[in-house]
């Protein structure tokens, strides 16, 4: 099993990956963000050689995301503005909170460690650098990720994910995370 693994996946790749994955292919996704996160983590685990659902509560998930969640809120709000309060969708409502996207992954993969979600405006590097140090404090291993739904050159979003096991000191973890999340996404899309 690898100690540090990086995965980056676009939404179109995530769709293909989910269809080919025995656990994900029967899963119904409410929103593309959910699909992106779930397929991204499945591929990260596959790349790291980790079988899932997990059997122990020692995995944490730290997820940064841009304003992609706002589009879900807009959909939800337009329904009630146009049709009244009875048009509020109980299915869509949970997805108006950013942590639901991460929560979906915790349920599907059995991630029972820490789960923290961070709305990020521009670069996620600073936030993830700080948060990566939590791997020392919380559980032995964790996933750090960033969802980017806006890109000048592409129509679909991406998620960049890193799996890190606690075999580092603080300085090394910071350095690894900075390297992973500062790389140019386009160069690394597969």
């Amino acid at each position: 099993m690898k100690k540090t693994v990086r995965t980056i996946i676009s939404l179109s790749d995530a769709r293909r990956y989910a269809l080919a994955n025995p656990i994900l292919k029967s899963h119904r996704f409410v929103d593309d963000l959910e699909l992106l996160v779930v397929a991204g983590i499945a591929r990260l685990f596959d790349d790291a050689g980790i079988s899932y659902p997990l059997k122990h509560g020692d995995m944490s998930l730290y997820l940064g995301l841009d304003r992609g969640i706002e589009e879900i809120k807009n959909r939800f709000l337009r329904d009630i503005i146009n049709g009244g309060i009875s048009m509020a969708s109980p299915l869509l409502f949970p997805y108006t909170t950013p942590n639901t996207i991460a929560a979906r992954a915790t349920i599907l993969f059995g991630i029972q460690g820490e789960c923290l979600t961070f709305p990020v405006k521009n670069s996620p590097v600073d936030v993830l650098k700080y948060i990566s140090t939590f791997l020392i404090d919380s559980t032995e291993r964790g996933i750090l990720g960033y969802i980017n739904t806006y890109h000048e050159k592409r129509e679909d979003g991406t998620i960049t994910l890193a799996y890190i096991e606690d075999n580092y000191n603080l300085h090394e973890i910071e350095k690894t995370v900075c390297t992973i999340f500062m790389k140019n996404e386009d160069e690394n899309l597969r």
Partner: protein, 391 residues
């Protein structure tokens, strides 16, 4: 390991709003109910909804609905740093901000969508108001917005504490802000989670929470910085735990798997045992499943001692302010430590036979209190626990 202390507090809730921490605390120990049936702020529905909203007339000046979030945020932040006697001009280099919200300034979005206008994409972000605050005070330390549903506030405190312990800053202001809005009310009505009358945590007839609003900030500071500045602490943050249920998007794990793990983690973080805790501030939303799950979690961790540790829910008085709730409740916990008085759970008339702990019903109670634990749980199976100790 560095120690982290609370050196300043700022708070605005529907309970004696804009009257500082003392006004908030006086209202709490009197058992004041702030929940009323009211109209939604922007959309005209015939239905009245139980909610705890800050009276418009209580604001020091007229504030547009779309500016309400920013106003509460700025005002409570200023209260906190003034209370901590911080001159941001001197300390901004070593100061950070960790702030929590679930829906952010959603009233701005609602108004723009209602008027079919164009959203300013910068402003239409959860971290927008907090970033503006961070920039306005020229802070240079860590800046993080956290959104973990109803446990966001506790997570803001926990994250800030860890960053201070790791040496990323000397001072971090941790806070949470939320405003009453259509999105949350419509959503929770669709899930039948909102009460039609009173908030009755742990009562046999409980039928949901009342949405609320508020802003609260804690100034958290390393021991070195506090001593250098010559200020006295209110309390020490000694433990934090966060664990996921990994169970359901909207319902808690029936056997409290995540909350039990979060409590154990917080105790371990604080190097304490359940025997050391003198009071528990419950999440206590008054939904059927939360209160039952929370009671089970306390029993599982505390064993027989669960029956002798007082537990209360101030949401019975204040309603549920989602991302702000954890920080508001942490300020309540600090006041418990300072005053040795426990706030009551009001509206608890017929206890649920399965919720059989000491919930401090109706009346505040005096009790020597050295360490307190504050619990939060939220959508997505979020669980977060903070432990505070008398300084």
């Amino acid at each position: 390991m560095k120690r982290v202390f609370v050196t300043g507090m700022g708070i605005i809730t529907p309970l004696n709003p804009f009257q500082g921490v003392r006004g908030f605390w006086d209202g709490l120990i009197k058992g004041t109910n702030t929940v009323r049936r009211g109209m939604l702020p922007l959309l005209s529905f015939s239905e009245l909804v139980a909610m705890a909203r800050i009276d418009d007339n209580a604001f020091p000046e007229p504030v547009e609905l779309t500016e309400r979030f920013d106003y509460l945020c700025n005002y409570a932040f200023r209260m906190a740093i003034k209370d901590a006697d911080i001159n941001t001009g001197i300390y901004s280099e070593q100061m950070g901000l960790v702030a929590a919200t679930v829906v952010g300034n959603v009233l701005y979005k609602e108004r723009v969508l209602l008027e079919k206008g164009r959203l300013n994409q910068d402003r239409d972000q959860l971290c927008y108001s907090f970033k503006r605050l961070y920039d306005e005070y020229h802070l240079k330390g860590p800046f993080i917005t956290v959104s973990t549903a109803c446990s966001s506030g506790n997570d803001a405190i926990g994250i800030a504490t860890r960053l201070l312990k790791a040496g990323y800053a000397d001072i971090i202001v941790a806070g949470g802000v939320e405003v009453i809005n259509e999105l949350a009310i419509a959503g929770f009505l669709s899930l039948q989670a909102i009460t039609d009358t009173l908030v009755r945590p742990f009562d046999r007839n409980r039928n949901g929470f009342a949405p609320s609003e508020g802003a609260a900030f804690l100034v958290l500071e390393s021991e070195d910085s506090m001593r250098k500045r010559g200020v006295m602490p209110y309390a020490e943050v000694v433990g934090y735990g966060n664990r996921a249920d990994a169970h359901h998007l909207t319902a808690p794990h029936r056997e409290a798997r995540g909350l039990v793990a979060a409590i154990k983690k917080a105790l371990k973080d604080a190097s304490l045992s359940a025997e050391d805790i003198d009071y528990i501030n419950a999440h206590g939303t008054a939904t059927v499943y939360n209160d039952l799950m929370e009671t089970k979690a306390i029993k599982k961790v505390f064993g027989n001692r669960a029956y002798s540790v007082p537990v209360s829910s101030i949401k019975s008085m204040l309603g549920h302010s989602f991302g702000a709730a954890g920080v508001i409740e942490a300020i309540c916990c600090v006041m418990v430590l300072l005053n040795n008085i426990l706030p009551p759970t009001i509206n608890l008339k017929e206890p649920d036979p399965e919720c059989d702990l000491d919930y401090v019903p109706d009346m505040a109670r005096e009790r020597d209190t050295r360490r307190v634990m504050s619990l939060s749980s939220g959508f997505g199976g979020q669980n977060s626990v903070v432990i505070l100790e008398r300084a």
